[in-house]
């Protein structure tokens, strides 16, 4: 697969800036992945299914988990490996990392069949043990991902969200990504979102146990069509320019570069990244370039870089104001800002600070004049609901919607 299957483009609301004053410009970076032509060529997978078997997982839930896990094994072939870890207050390696074949698949399915509900929830121990199984497999160019499922709170072993998130980040840097699956209403959505986001994977909220197999299928579908691994967008910040990243995405600033982590990119995916640039005044006739690079490893493991640049031309302010603004671009960026504010407001609401939650979202809404009426109404209603307090269903559903909107997938 060549680099022409992925494109990086960049657009801005208005490509002229004023010579006399600082200008604020929204910049939209778009990463597009074409449909995968050659299905036969895909990266081998090195997975760990890490399944909650704590007491609350009985009946329907565990039955659906077993079905989902079994289904995942059916989608893998001899190129792949899988390990199965079950955890309650102890961690049980039901199956160490095993290369898939007909016999191995049958053994793994039998191991899943023996899953029974148990005690408390050592989510940290279960997850890290699963990662250890992945890390212990023979080295190669397999795509490594831990799939962590839970229905409850981490209440044994490592429970601190900061500590767990730190490990997720460190493991992503060492080639192991984590996707998280939260079932029902009792899990900690902040924790699972953070683990997946910092861990370079995806977070899924599963309302009903019957949906578990379909969601696992979606994640496998993504894994089987990964075209770019460990993608990141690196933007050079020219001297005097302020650059703000929207969406609260995982990122690092090193000197005059901003690096935004995008995880793995799949066929037919499109991502947007929004940065707000503050461009200082300068002489008319000059220009300022904002240069971005998309870096990733293709499935053969080779590092590829694509570049895109946006140019701001300096004109007299009066002339700049004559140029129309790209309204739709601003609307899309506005959605991301509102989703980010929603995520922050939800954290406040969960902590009982309802008035602050409402005020935060209200403020963001007031400073987003680009929003079309239906979207504005939706967020206004949400702000009111935050003030009154949310039910757990509303909290989980709103949180998941905000997570997806921030990612701009």
């Amino acid at each position: 697969m060549t680099s022409t299957d992925i494109t990086l483009t960049v657009a801005t609301e208005r490509s002229a800036v004023a010579c006399e004053v600082t200008s604020q410009r929204m910049v939209e970076w778009t990463i597009s992945v074409a449909a995968s032509q050659r299905q036969a060529e895909r990266a081998p997978l090195n997975l760990a299914l890490i399944l909650d078997r704590s007491g609350s997982m009985q009946g329907d839930k565990l039955r659906n988990v077993r079905q989902a896990a079994s289904h995942v094994l059916d989608l893998l072939d001899e190129r792949d490996r899988a390990a199965i870890v079950a955890y309650d207050d102890q961690v049980l390696t039901l199956a160490p990392s095993t290369a898939i074949g007909d016999r191995a698949r049958a053994d793994l399915k039998r191991a899943i069949g023996e899953l029974q509900p148990g005690g408390w929830t050592d989510l940290g121990g279960g997850w890290l043990t699963g990662c250890q199984q992945i890390a212990g497999a023979p080295p190669g160019d397999a795509l490594a991902r831990a799939l962590l499922l839970t229905d409850g709170l981490a209440n044994r072993g490592m429970t601190d969200i900061e500590e767990l998130t730190h490990h997720a980040r460190e493991l992503r840097r060492r080639g192991i990504a984590t996707s998280t699956f939260g079932v029902g209403l009792d899990f900690n959505e902040q924790l699972l979102e953070a683990l997946a986001e910092q861990g370079g994977g995806r977070f899924y909220y599963i309302e009903r146990p019957a949906q578990i197999p379909a969601v696992f299928h979606t994640e496998l579908g993504n894994l089987l069509t990964v075209v770019a691994r460990e993608a990141f967008l690196s933007i050079g910040i020219p001297r005097g320019v302020g650059l703000e990243l929207l969406g609260d995405l995982p990122h690092e600033r090193q000197g005059d570069r901003l690096r935004v982590y995008l995880g793995d990119l799949c066929a037919q995916e499109r991502r947007h990244v929004y940065t707000r640039a503050l461009v200082p005044p300068d002489a008319p006739g000059t220009a300022l370039a904002l240069h971005g690079e998309l870096g990733y490893a293709n499935i053969e493991g080779r590092s590829i870089t694509l570049a895109a640049t946006v140019l701001f031309s300096y004109l007299r302010e009066a002339q700049v104001l004559q140029i129309p603004v790209a309204a739709e671009l601003l609307e899309r960026a506005g959605e991301v800002e509102l989703a980010t504010a929603t995520a922050q407001a939800l954290r406040l609401e969960r902590a009982g600070q309802r008035q602050q939650a409402q005020a935060l979202l209200q403020r963001q809404l007031a400073s987003s004049p680009a929003m079309p009426a239906p979207a504005a109404a939706h967020y206004q209603l949400l702000a009111d609901q935050l003030g009154a307090g949310l039910s757990e269903e509303e909290r989980k559903a709103t949180h998941f919607a905000a997570y997806k909107a921030r990612q701009s997938r």
Partner: protein, 217 residues
């Protein structure tokens, strides 16, 4: 940027991060073709930009200008783009491997969470006492006749994450007798009772309806 955009020399310079003077120099040296002249204004195209970016990349790799010229002068726009995409330096590798990192993190956690290779029967290894009588209560601290945990491969943790009580808990085994029914037995008793345990397990399984031939104890 659209590939048919045309730039003035100062726009091209800004985009490529060089000065107009450098562009004129490269043109004089034959590293860069001259501009396309449209009317009174000289205009440069996307291929000029790619060439400048490539020159910068190859200079960073300490290639002399003559070698760079030789390398890129025959290339068309598509080939230039391809070469640029492939020349990106790989990111520096992180300091330790995932295995080392995890061994260190899990090594710092107390005994119950450190697991050796899964045994063939997939039984739970180090497990603290899980009081079946008072399942709702948190783990009870160790009883007086506790044995110290069996030695495990990673080095001892300087500061255990849980309190001293957890570190003293002995190792237990769980053996499934039937769905929802397990025998919970300490490693010490498992060793001491020997074949009695096997008989107990076989009896339990028979009583609860599981055929002996299905499971090798």
């Amino acid at each position: 940027m659209a590939n048919d955009t045309l730039y003035s020399i100062s726009e091209l310079a800004a985009l490529a991060g060089v000065t107009p003077r450098t562009i004129r120099y490269y043109t004089a040296e034959g590293l860069l073709p001259g501009p396309d002249t449209r009317g009174p204004y000289a205009r440069y195209g996307h291929a000029h930009l790619l060439r400048l970016q490539l020159i910068a990349r190859l200079k960073a790799a300490y290639l002399p200008l003559a070698a760079i010229k030789e390398r890129i002068e025959q290339l068309g726009e598509q080939e230039l783009a391809q070469l640029l995409a492939e020349l990106a330096p790989a990111p520096p590798p992180p300091p330790t491997s995932a295995s080392d990192y995890l061994a260190e993190v899990l090594g710092r956690m107390p005994a119950p969470q450190r697991l050796a290779e899964a045994p063939a029967r997939y039984e739970a290894l180090p497990a603290p006492a899980f009081g079946l009588a008072d399942a709702a209560a948190p783990r009870a601290p160790a009883a007086p006749q506790m044995i110290a945990p069996a030695p495990a491969p990673p080095p001892p943790a300087p500061q255990p994450r849980l309190g001293p009580a957890a570190a003293l808990e002995q190792r237990w085994r769980r053996i499934t007798l039937a769905p929802g029914v397990e025998l919970h037995i300490s490693e010490a008793q498992y060793d001491a009772l020997g074949t009695l345990v096997e008989r107990l397990v076989a009896l339990g399984r028979a009583l609860l309806g599981r055929k002996e031939s299905e499971e090798a104890p």
